[in-house]
């Protein structure tokens, strides 16, 4: 039962062993650290880059143009903002050249709050990411999806952005979230693939489990919990939070359906429509700031296409539109959605009389 960070590492291992990944790189991605969160520990194609995010994205584009399969990391998405016009180029190269050149690269970056990261280690990137056409955007909420989405990202012929929910990276998998081929318990897996801390690290070699390939299709949502009364449209860190809120509301007689989008672009409109047609009530939950938020786009489309199906005004629970996430516990808590807020919003939606 891997953690998400182990799942990502195992996917990258499969990527470089079997799927043609040639370069996994970024700041502190190679030895000795293997990534700020250890996602790239002990990978044979991992290397350290200069501390230059524009250079990292540019390098990935160039490698992809030359037929390599790069996976580039921006250490925290807060530092991806100065790469936006290079992200734009990665996204528009196939279109601008009318199909002459495609850019098969993966850019992965940790996103969101939850680790007391203060102003520059807590930002979300989903709103920016979904405003960059030409990219596919994925964001897992559990280790199995992280593994399967990364493998799909690696073989995709387009640029794919893999947003890693920081707060879930060390969370353990739940039953049903196993990665095919991994050993059953976390301790065994950790012993096999987590490098020891200290001097013995340089001599240590991982023992990779015999992993099977698993491809979670990009563009396919997952129903994380079924229910008849309200639909939650969410992704990443907010998924387990929403499921937990929903479980608690069951005792109040409210049955909530949680749709884990997994892919933000392309997103699974069919799954969204089917759920909303069943429940007629919608709550969008994510951590990015609320003005020009991806949830707003979903609500706009729901209002346009399913207006007469709706029994209550759709709601968005998102990050406060303030310039940063403060360090103190109270500040971080007040800046992004939490279980209590999700529960209140769901109660309100469920009890609303049209």
């Amino acid at each position: 039962m891997a953690t998400m960070i182990q799942a990502i590492r195992m996917a990258l291992h499969v990527g470089e062993e079997r799927l043609g990944v040639t370069d996994i790189f970024g700041e502190d991605v190679g030895p000795p650290l293997g990534g700020a969160f250890t996602a790239t520990q002990n990978l044979k194609t991992a290397w350290n880059s200069p501390l230059d995010e524009r250079g990292i994205v540019g390098m990935a584009i160039g490698l992809a143009l030359a037929g390599r399969r790069p996976v580039a990391e921006i250490q925290f998405c807060d530092y991806a903002f100065n790469t936006i016009d290079l992200l734009k180029i990665a996204g528009n190269t196939y279109w601008a050249s009318a199909g002459d050149w495609n850019v098969p690269m993966v850019m992965m970056t940790p996103v969101g709050a939850g680790i007391r990261g203060s102003i520059y280690h807590s930002h979300s990137f989903d709103a920016q990411a979904t405003r960059t056409p030409g990219w596919k955007i994925v964001m897992p909420s559990n280790p199995r999806d992280a593994y399967g989405l990364m493998l799909s990202a690696i073989i995709d012929p387009n640029p794919v952005m893999f947003l890693k929910p920081k707060a879930l990276l060390r969370a353990k998998a739940l039953p049903g979230e196993e990665i095919p081929g991994e050993p059953g318990d976390l301790k065994t897996l950790s012993k096999m693939i987590d490098a020891p801390v200290g001097e013995s690290r340089s001599r240590w070699k991982p023992e990779w489990p015999k992993l099977e390939e698993l491809y979670i299709p990009i563009g396919e949502a997952r129903t994380a919990r079924t229910g008849r009364d309200v639909t939650v449209l969410t992704y990443g860190r907010s998924v387990p939070m929403s499921v937990s809120a929903a479980d608690e509301l069951a005792s109040e007689g409210i049955e909530v359906e949680v749709i884990d989008l997994r892919s933000l672009h392309p997103y699974d409109w069919n799954a969204i429509k089917a759920s909303v047609r069943k429940t007629h009530r919608v709550l969008c939950v994510n951590e990015d700031t609320e003005v020009t938020n991806f949830g707003e786009h979903l609500i706009r489309r729901l209002v346009e296409e399913l207006f007469y199906e709706l029994h209550a005004a759709p709601k968005l629970l998102a990050g406060a539109h303030v310039p940063g996430i403060g360090l103190a516990d109270n500040l971080e808590h007040a800046s992004v959605p939490h279980k209590d807020g999700i529960k209140s919003a769901l109660r309100e939606l469920a009890r609303h009389e049209p």
Binding site: D23, G62, R68, S97
Partner: protein, 352 residues
């Protein structure tokens, strides 16, 4: 043209060895004639593009009159082909001379100007001079003046990793070197033990749109910046064909052999201003590399004035006629905006 650059060129470009291309300072006659023909073709093409813009057959012109003496030799010296074994080019929007020297059809440039559906570089999506040719490893030219300097190290890294004999060539203007991407290029190409086979070019026309280089840059020469990274550098007179040829040859030979970066700055002219936004009128106070080369060819009795006039008239007429044909070619269909969003067709999930 700064005197510094001219002085530099005579000392820095003189080390070229003699070869089948000619002696130390002079190219073989047939090569001179070929370069002249291509420079003339590039100039006539730019003139036609400007005329098309003025006649309403295009929305915007930007191009390279004044860079032909440098860009044509570049296109002839490239190891042209597809994939990592050949040279990659990350060019800017003043590179028509290079593309024509590589064998591009000038009529395709007219198609891009007229933004027709037949424009092979962008299907009517991009400005004139924004070439893309995967068959020759020419990465798409984009309007931001600096991004190619961040992207180019990637193709060079691929060449390094595969042990290819190809090199990566990146070019941009002087103004773009103020952007961080130029520093990125210097840093990433010269990492110790991981040096990249990159020919880093700057064509210095001494302007960023309307702003003179002088008021914005403290460095005497842009090429000096390469010295801090331990790479060989040169600043040469890019208005002189032979100086340009030998400087490029020397730099390319170094990069091909040593598999390390070289920074070459060419002082060039900008003969029609920045773009159509500033009128695209010809300027008279800058060196015209084409007239200068033609004078040399006359002196060397390689081509007469009458022959050159005849060539120019013929090329002008050919492109005029081609532009009339291009005018009749179809414009892109509105629904074509959805083409080429993704390299697979799965771009609206759940909808077929």
């Amino acid at each position: 043209m700064s005197t510094t650059a001219q002085t530099a060129s005579s000392s820095l470009a003189s080390g070229s060895s003699s070869s089948s291309h000619g002696s130390e300072n002079q190219l073989a006659p047939e090569l001179q004639l070929r370069i002249h023909e291509l420079m003339l073709e590039a100039r006539v093409l730019e003139e036609r593009l400007i005329t098309m813009y003025r006649q309403g057959d295009g929305y915007f012109w930007i191009g390279g009159p004044g860079e032909e003496a440098f860009n044509v030799p570049l296109g002839l010296l490239v190891d042209k082909g597809t994939g990592v074994e050949h040279d990659y080019l990350h060019l800017h929007y003043r590179s028509s001379g290079t593309l024509l020297a590589m064998g591009a059809d000038p009529v395709d440039a007219l198609r891009q100007m007229k933004n027709t559906a037949t424009d092979p570089y962008s299907r009517g999506r991009n400005f004139a001079g924004h070439y893309s040719a995967r068959k020759w490893n020419v990465a798409p030219v984009s309007s931001p003046i600096e991004v190619q300097y961040s992207i180019a190290p990637g193709t060079a890294m691929a060449q390094r990793a595969t042990g290819s004999k190809g090199i990566t060539i990146v070019t941009g203007g002087d103004a773009g070197t103020a952007e961080g991407d130029f520093a990125t290029c210097l840093v990433w190409s010269s990492r110790k033990g991981s040096e990249l086979p990159m020919l880093i070019l700057v064509t210095n026309n001494q302007y960023g749109i309307s702003t003179p280089f002088e008021g914005q840059h403290g460095e005497e020469r842009i090429s000096d910046r390469g010295k801090a990274f331990g790479m060989p550098t040169a600043t040469v007179d890019g208005n002189d064909v032979e100086t340009s040829w030998f400087a490029l040859k020397k730099a390319m030979d170094y990069v091909r052999t040593e598999r390390k970066p070289y920074l070459l700055e060419a002082m060039v002219s900008r003969l029609n201003g920045h773009s159509s936004a500033s009128g695209a009128n010809s300027v008279t106070n800058e060196v015209d590399c084409l007239s200068r080369f033609e004078k040399k060819l006359e002196e060397r009795k390689l081509r007469t004035r009458a022959e050159m006039d005849e060539m120019r008239a013929r090329m002008t007429q050919e492109l005029l006629e081609a532009s009339k044909r291009v005018r009749e070619e179809p414009q892109p269909k509105p629904e074509s905006i959805w083409d080429y969003v993704f390299a697979d067709k799965n771009y609206v999930a759940g909808e077929k």
